[in-house]
Amino acid sequence: MMGIKWNELLITGDPLILGSQIAILLTMIGIVGGITYLKKWRWLWSEWLTTVDHKRIGIMYIIAAVLMFFRGGIDGLMMKAQTARPEMEFLNAQHYNEVFTTHGVIMILFMAMPLLIGIMNVIIPLQIGARDVAFPQLNALSFWLFFSGAMLFNISFVIGGSPDAGWTSYFPLAGKEFSPSIANNYYAIALQIAGIGTLISGINFVVTILKMRTKGMTLMKMPMFTWTSFIASVIIVAAFPILTVALALMTTDRLYGTHFFTVSGGGMDMLWANLFWLWGHPEVYILILPAFGIYSEIFATFSRKSLFGYKSMIFSIVAIAILSMVVWVHHFYTMGSGPAVNSIFSITTMAIAVPTGIKIFNWLFTMRKGRIKMTTPMLWALAFIPCFIIGGVTGVMLGMGAADFQYHNTLFLVAHFHYTIIPGVVFAVFAALYYWWPKMFGFMLNEKIGKWHFWLFVIGFNVTFMPMFFLGLDGAVRRSYTYSVESGFAPLFLLSAIGSAVLALGFAAFCYNIYWSARYADRNISSDPWDARTLEWSTASPVQFYNFAKQPEVTTLDPFWHMKKKNEGLTLKDSEIEEIHMPSNSGLPIFMGAVFSVAGFFLVFEWHIAAVVAAVGIIAGLIIRSFDYDEGYHVKKDEIKKIESTWRNVEGEVHNDVS
């Protein structure tokens, strides 16, 4: 039927993959069975799957991204196991190639970015005192597109084969001539779907932050996390269309035989590298900027001081955003574009050290004269500084074009970017989860387990990646599944592998913490357990669905801090309560996500007619949306009164879980 080669469809013959196939099947049966048994389908559908509430969407992003962290983390551990000893035979070359490719893609696009977008979703409307984002339904669509892209990418290793040309998927290697299996179609199409979702998110946040701020919150009174997320969203809007085009051209090259990047027909392989990094470099700053914002909030809160140099912080993120657009060539100095090109891009690249340095020094001076409270979120923020500096200065070393000829594509580079991404983004996400957890769920994560998590992870991280700098300088290249005994790399590789085991223990501690706290943590906590400074802490934990009964009015930076000091604006009079208009739930976003993944799946397998048929569903969705005049609903005063009084008049003392 339709020339489908059924015998090739499933990947067979490999015990690891067979194991995962069985595990996936069992998990799915388990989930479906469990939900049916508990009669939770209706609840799941109406409370979560069709929700347009930014907080719930944010939480769904976070859950999906943490699952992806597992997947990517296990890929990382597999690589570390394979290279622990010289000439190991745990993974063969093909398998190793698939593992680092999926590791890179999943970690960057399906873990780091969605985690940050999830946190942005939960926090930003709260920080700016808004009731939701500008386009709640589009927000849900963004999530479902991301989710559908992620799922499509993840099934690749059991159905059809995983992409294996690196997360950069350079041509000609990634073209049909050298990768005839459909595996790399997954890369092109799954990323495309998720990328469209991200672009929509970016637009949504730009408009939300520009237009939905509460009364009195001028741009220069916005919390730093909102600022950095705003700039990151601007970069998303500027960079993601480039990825869209690059992936579309990759798709036509692979599926329809065009000649953008091929060896024959006049195609140019360098063009792919150029387009990929035109997006790819801004992408790493899309990751780091919101993370910088998270740290800014945490440093200020736990030093009990406002952020030092607020204006210069904003100047520096704007400078980073502009510079991030003009450095992409530093990823291919070795492509022979000549000394003039390399010189210019060396200069722009190194220039990024200046605004980043400004931020580092401002954070240090935020803590100076403060009273530094060593909570778990703060520990992550503290560890970030030294670790990230190592990543940053090695980045500057890579930025020196001539020197990069010796570092490029070695483990020195791999060490650099794990030293920027993990302290920069992963630590920040952990910090944010510990910090905002009570806001999201109404209980705190355990501080003691949190410290275990922290120390294991940070030590494991340094032991894993520090040796890679030295290996790289000794000539060990990246993406090589093995090395010889004579190379002398063995001891450092082993050390690094041991480090990754510690790292995994740290992550396990985190998972255990979630489990423990969900079961045993105190539910009777204050809505402001950290004595924090910004508006999200002025409302209930977990936040009621309309966020604020009365939208707060702002006169200064750190508004909530000053309200608390002056003891004003915290109470709510009955006369201030008004009906609140809220958007209705919608099943359309999840429907669109589903159609996109089905159409995408057919396209991956090059079953064009089926794909076109499925795409009709997309058009149907758009038409339904166009004729949708649902105006939302109003929350009645009585209901608001009831909700507000339950959290405002808690009986007895509330417990702050801070040691």
Binding site: I11, L173, R368, F405, Y407, N409
Partner: protein, 329 residues
């Protein structure tokens, strides 16, 4: 916290000290040496940055940490300081300038014959990378080698590089930095070896299943030895035929080979109008196979087409497959 800081600061000098036995810090020629000098220069500045920031960090965190004694202390309202902002914008700018100048001069210098060697007659060697092997052609001498290259010591060698397949990167860390090889275009790289010796070279740009073993040896010889070797090869080595050459380009690992002519006489892959020698059929392997497009300007002899139809698997030495789906065509 302290423990962690200590372990970090202990690791850093190690980065510099243990430099003595890492290939990048043991340059064996002027090109590599100029890069090592640049790296060392950058390390000094980076160390300075690291020491200053770590010091400041340790001091502040230690001094202002919360203790049972200072729970009463309420930190002051403080918004910033223009003077401080200027200082920590200005100094990094100066550091960046200090790094930029030698970077730019080195970038330009690397494109030329190394300083002090302008007088010496350079020799030209064409490098063609294929999956997963290196082919070296000596047009002046009329010889060709696979997976090893002999060069005279103390002589600038101009490598003219291209690829017959994917994008690869030519790197001999002891002698100099790397550069990509790409189909239908040419990149150039000068290298010089100070002394006779054997240096390892390899591909650093990932190009598929055989990537890890895509290595070659650079053997620097005295002038006499080199001339002797060239003569020997001319005399004793077989001639490479077009047919053998096509076989050679298939995705395989090969040992060393030596020929007394060069493939440049029938194809130079750097030429933008040259035929493409790609064999998509031979890359079929893992997973579900998609459609392949026949290209008009792709060169394939009859014979190769014949081969493809039945079990091409013999052609691929060291073919590693984990699992199914390679019977589908």
């Amino acid at each position: 916290m302290k423990k962690f800081l200590l372990s970090l600061t202990a690791l850093l000098p190690l980065l510099v000290l243990s430099g003595c036995n890492m290939v990048v810090f043991e340059p064996q020629g002027p090109v590599a040496r100029s890069i090592t000098d640049l790296i060392n220069w950058s390390l000094i500045w980076m160390l300075l940055v690291v020491v200053v920031v770590f010091g400041l960090f340790g001091y502040i965190v230690w001094k202002y940490r919360e203790r049972p004694e200072n729970m009463e202390y309420e930190p002051p309202e403080e918004h910033g300081s223009t003077l401080l902002e200027i200082i920590w914008t200005g100094i990094p700018i100066l550091i960046v300038i200090a790094l930029t100048i030698p970077t730019v001069t080195t970038l330009y210098a690397l494109e030329e014959v190394p300083k002090g060697y302008e007088e010496k007659e350079p020799i030209t060697i064409h490098v063609t990378s294929a999956d997963w092997k290196w082919i070296f052609s000596y047009p002046e001498e009329g010889i060709e080698t696979v997976n090893y290259v002999n060069i005279p010591e103390d002589t600038p060698v101009l490598f003219k590089m291209t690829s017959a397949s994917t994008m690869q990167s030519f790197w001999v860390p002891a002698l100099g930095g790397q550069k990509y090889t790409m189909p239908k275009m040419e990149t150039e790289l000068y290298l010089v070896a100070d002394n006779p010796g054997s240096y390892e070279g390899q591909n650093t740009n990932f190009n598929g299943r055989g990537y890890a073993d895509m290595k070659f040896e650079v053997l620097a010889q005295t002038h006499e030895e080199f001339d002797q070797w060239v003569d020997d090869v001319k005399e004793k080595a077989p001639k490479l035929t077009e047919k053998e050459y096509e076989d050679l380009l298939k995705p395989t690992h090969l040992g060393r080979m030596t020929f007394s002519n060069t493939h440049l006489s029938w194809v130079n892959h750097a030429d933008p109008d040259s035929k493409a020698y790609t064999n998509p059929e031979l890359y079929r392997g893992h997973g579900y196979q998609g459609k392949i497009f026949e290209e008009e300007d792709n060169y394939k002899s009859e014979e190769i087409n014949e081969n493809d139809k039945h079990g091409h698997d013999e052609n691929i030495e060291n073919k590693e497959n984990h699992g199914g789906g390679h019977d589908g065509h």
